[in-house]
Subunit: 184 residues, 2 copies
DNA sequence: CCGCCTCCGTACGGTGCCGTATGGTTTTCC
DNA sequence: GGAAAACCATACGGCACCGTACGGAGGCGG
């Protein structure tokens, strides 16, 4: 058996490690150990460590935002589209961990630019929804920004509080409140 | 001259480094160099590196939230109190950098608990304002949470976008929008 | 069957940091 | 002014990781 390792295997392992221990956990030697191989393999597929984190981030961006956006763009009614985004993003699997880990290293020279792209694309997407719902331009921008920052802030604050901030039972209530207040 | 160094000098230098390069930048040897001294000094004042980051975080918590809270608690009218908080926190010096650096390492065993305390105290403070304004309990909690997360999310997203997200000219407008929508 | 290209193992040197050991220097206080 | 205590410099060992060098194994076309 013993499938050979490919670039993607390393990238996936890097994302996994990223969830566990942050960007610092994307380290060649530990990853090699976890994959049951050695550095020799790694440095054949990648030039260096930076290339790996770049590949990992790109993979995440592809799967977790581009795919989602193209999926949601299939919904023509902007209100339904937005509603769908809400439920997907809050109710879904909590892969917020990659999110948080990357946000944490926005200053990193390789993560920074990629993250900036993703952030811009996401906010644009939300703003577009409000625009298509007929809101005037600046209001659409404001509401879009609020929606996104409320999301980012929530996952961030929940983590910062150790999870005590919004217990599971109060979550649906708050989300309803949020939806109401944001969509006006 | 040549003042001797005290614990506080190290803690301040640590906070400074924290702003520049994140928690990883709180490293003994580089800090010693920047302070013009050596590790010998450090390990006399502190048991190890963890003790330093703890001291730094405590100092920050003291200056940047406890002091602010006791200051604002001098204002009896909750609405004015909240308004004051808004302007202080958004318009003021952008020491959000410490904020962001710490948020980034909420998982750290020494930072985590301290950060959880600070987060809880802040949200409680805001929620209390809404409560004293006569809002029913759950609504007060919701609005308080939204206010805090919108703040955290905004500084986070601005950083993540490289600063392009909310240009300075649009800032006042958005803040007005925010204030309006949050206080209902 | 042979040489080649892909892929990986091993071994090495280098770096940046942590923490300890130990002795020297300054301050304090009697 | 001299001992004790506070404070700091230097030197060392250790660890975790990066990146390179190089030498194989295995498949594949000729």
């Amino acid at each position: 058996m013993k499938r050979k390792l490919a670039r993607e295997d390393w990238a996936d392992a890097a994302l996994e490690a990223l969830c566990e221990g942050g960007v610092a956990a994307i380290a060649v030697e530990p990853l090699a150990a976890k994959l049951g191989t050695t550095k020799g393999s790694f440095y054949w597929h990648f030039a260096n460590r930076s290339a790996l984190v770049e590949a990992a981030v790109r993979r995440w961006a592809e799967q977790d935002t581009e795919a989602l956006i193209t999926l949601l763009d299939g919904i023509s009614d902007p209100e339904r589209r937005l509603r769908e985004l809400f439920t997907l993003v809050f109710g879904g699997k909590d892969d917020e961990r990659v999110e948080l880990a990357l946000l944490a290293h926005a200053g990193d020279p390789v993560i920074g630019p990629l993250l900036a792209d993703v952030t811009a694309r996401r906010v644009d997407f939300i703003v577009r929804c409000f625009r298509e719902m007929g809101r005037p331009e600046t209001e659409a921008r404001h509401r879009g920004l609020l929606a996104y920052t409320a999301f980012i802030g929530l996952i961030q604050a929940r983590r910062a509080s150790g999870g005590t901030l919004l217990p599971a039972t109060e979550r649906p209530g708050y989300l309803e409140f949020l939806r109401g207040i944001i969509t006006g």
